[in-house]
């Protein structure tokens, strides 16, 4: 029951190091180191565990600038079997639609895959759109917010992490899943893994070698999304602390305040 799994990864600025320009409200990315989007590592871990249990192989795929090769090497160090970097200037400024389009082409070119795993969202964009859009491009089933996957005869039983509970879903492969951090704590690469990854081959494709690419659907022209404005949300009003001598008095004060605010 060998499975071919593709894991989509991207680099994001290390949010712990990021600052916001107080004047323009935009993120200052200069000099901020890149890390692999943490949820993508959960997706990779899920893939590696599935491979461990059921056999198969794992390909890490990234659309990004040349320096994203480093992220792919980290994936190889953790245990991915192969890595593909899709990199070309013409991909610059692609939104989630264009990105998903490119990744779906990669899935065709380097597949066939049984499973495509993504992080539940990226730390920088937080849209959570890429996974579902890849599924749409490929016409596959999709399951989002996946916390755990168990193989069955025909596909998977999947735990979906919902607000207030877990939803169990049964689905056939091929599937696209977006993974949460609950169960799949990423492993630390071994030293030997790191050393091996330094020498490993990272397959690189560009706009010419990516099969079937319609250049009208990528980059700025292929991206219907435009950012109208980015801003830092204003600090909220500080809350009111009610601390009267007795509980009865506190309750009375609370009711008074709520009434005054016309909340009750």
């Amino acid at each position: 029951m060998n499975m071919k799994i593709m894991v989509c990864v991207k680099q994001v600025p290390d949010t712990e190091m990021i600052k916001v320009d107080p004047v323009t409200g935009s993120l200052i990315r200069e000099g901020v180191p890149s890390i692999i989007n943490p949820f993508d590592l959960n997706a990779l871990e899920a893939a590696l565990q599935l491979r461990g249990e059921y056999g198969g192989n794992v390909a890490a795929v990234c659309m990004g600038p040349p320096q994203a090769e480093e992220a792919l090497r980290d994936c190889l160090a953790m245990g991915a079997d192969s890595a593909v970097l899709i990199s070309d200037r013409v991909f610059k400024d692609s939104d989630t639609l264009a990105t998903s389009y490119v990744l779906s082409l990669a899935a065709r070119q380097f597949g066939p895959f049984d499973l495509i795993l993504c992080g539940k969202h990226s730390l920088d964009g937080e849209t959570g759109q890429v996974g579902p859009q890849i599924a749409e491009f490929l016409g596959w089933n999709q399951v989002t917010y996946v916390s755990k996957m168990t193989r069955t005869e025909e596909g998977f039983v999947i735990d979906r992490e919902m607000e207030g509970g877990i939803e169990k879903v049964m689905t056939r492969t091929p599937i696209v899943c977006t993974v949460t951090k609950t169960h799949y704590e990423p492993r630390k690469a071994t030293m030997k893994g790191k050393l091996m990854a330094k020498k490993a081959h990272v397959e690189t494709v560009d706009s010419k070698t990516l099969n079937g690419l319609d250049t009208g659907r990528i980059g700025l022209v292929g991206s219907p999304t435009s950012v109208a404005k980015s801003f830092v949300p204003p600090d909220g009003e500080p809350g009111t602390v009610i601390e009267e001598p007795t509980a009865v008095e506190s309750a009375a004060k609370l009711i008074k305040l709520l009434t005054k605010a016309e909340a009750i």
């Binding site: 630390k188 071994t190 030293m191 030997k192 790191k194 050393l195 330094k198």
Partner: protein
Amino acid sequence: MSDDKFDVIVVGGGIAGTVASYLLAKEGLSVVLVERGNFCGSKNMTGGRLYAYSLEEVMPGFANEAPVERKVFKERISLLTMDQSVTLDVRSPKFAESGNDSYVVLRSSFDRWLGEKAESEGAMIVAGYRVDDLIVRDDKVCGIISNGEEMDADVVVLADGVNSLLAEKLGMKKPLRPEHVAVGVKEVIQLTRGEIDERFGLSGDEGCAWSFFGANTDGIQGGGFLYTNKDSISIGLTCNLQKLSEGSKPLMQLMNDFQSHPVVAPLVKGGNLIEYSAHLEPEAGAKMIPQLYGNGVLVIGDAAGLTLNLGHKVRGMDLAVISAQCAAQAILEAKSREDFTASSLRKYKDLLDVSSAIQNIEARDKYLEFMENPLLYNAYPLMIVDMLARLFVVKGGRAQTIFDDILKNIEALGKNQIENDFKAVKKL
């Protein structure tokens, strides 16, 4: 090379470890450097100044390429009392001459660069892994263990810094004793380039190195330092750990007092604290040097106790380079014989013994006792500063000659004491 065994594993990506890796990889050996921080230099600190001569030998012209902060053109020494000071300011083109030159560095960028140089020669750096233990078989070190994972090599080079727990585990080194180390604290304070140039009288890439003695360590054996970076200054204090624990003020308070001293306050004024660090420094000279070699293992850099603190000259990084050079040469020779036993690796000690590193450390040992004299850190600076201050005071009445003044001070301190100390100086 088999896939599982390397010629050399170097533990620690400081100056010593990166330079050793560079030299060995350059000669075609398979080298893995394991560093516990996220990159070489990420955890390292120094006061600030690298004397260039030894690294220059390893990488000629390194300063043109490396991320050095400023080249030292100006040396200052200050003696401080609580509210007075005497400062010597020496500026000389000699400082810049090749061979004499020295550079202020920040380790996180400098060591990282050295690591990249080693990598460009083929060394492989694994960062983010702490070496927990060494593999020892039949009394020979055969590799390292990190997080349960083993990795084998013919030789392991311990470049893991002043508190080399690994050398200790092997029984090559005794645990550190508080009287044998100084503890240093350092702050990096951000200022604009212009502010630095103006406050220190510098221009372009010129830098200033400044040491401070006296009240800033509250009479404790040690001193203060200040180095100018491009757009920040490195300022700190070092104190003997034992003496500090006997003293009345914690190091942090000494540091605060130091920075509020009238000489220092205007230098740091308005700056933005961007980095704080603390580190130990070996300071007991030759008696701290551990067993330097064993079967399949060498100890270099601070791990080997190789520092030289003369107060106004603090040296460790240049000696780390020398020890890396000696170690690399010894390993290459051992490799040509395929003999990595202690008797083969002994060559390292032989080379080091005749190097300027050990010779200077041994020469300094004569000063050690002298430098422990507490009067050096309180009474003498006070006396000198006081006398010089009085030299400039005019207040009417019959003026005292400077000799009267000196005599009075000597009497105050006790003639015997001074005589003894003077004898000690003559002995040096």
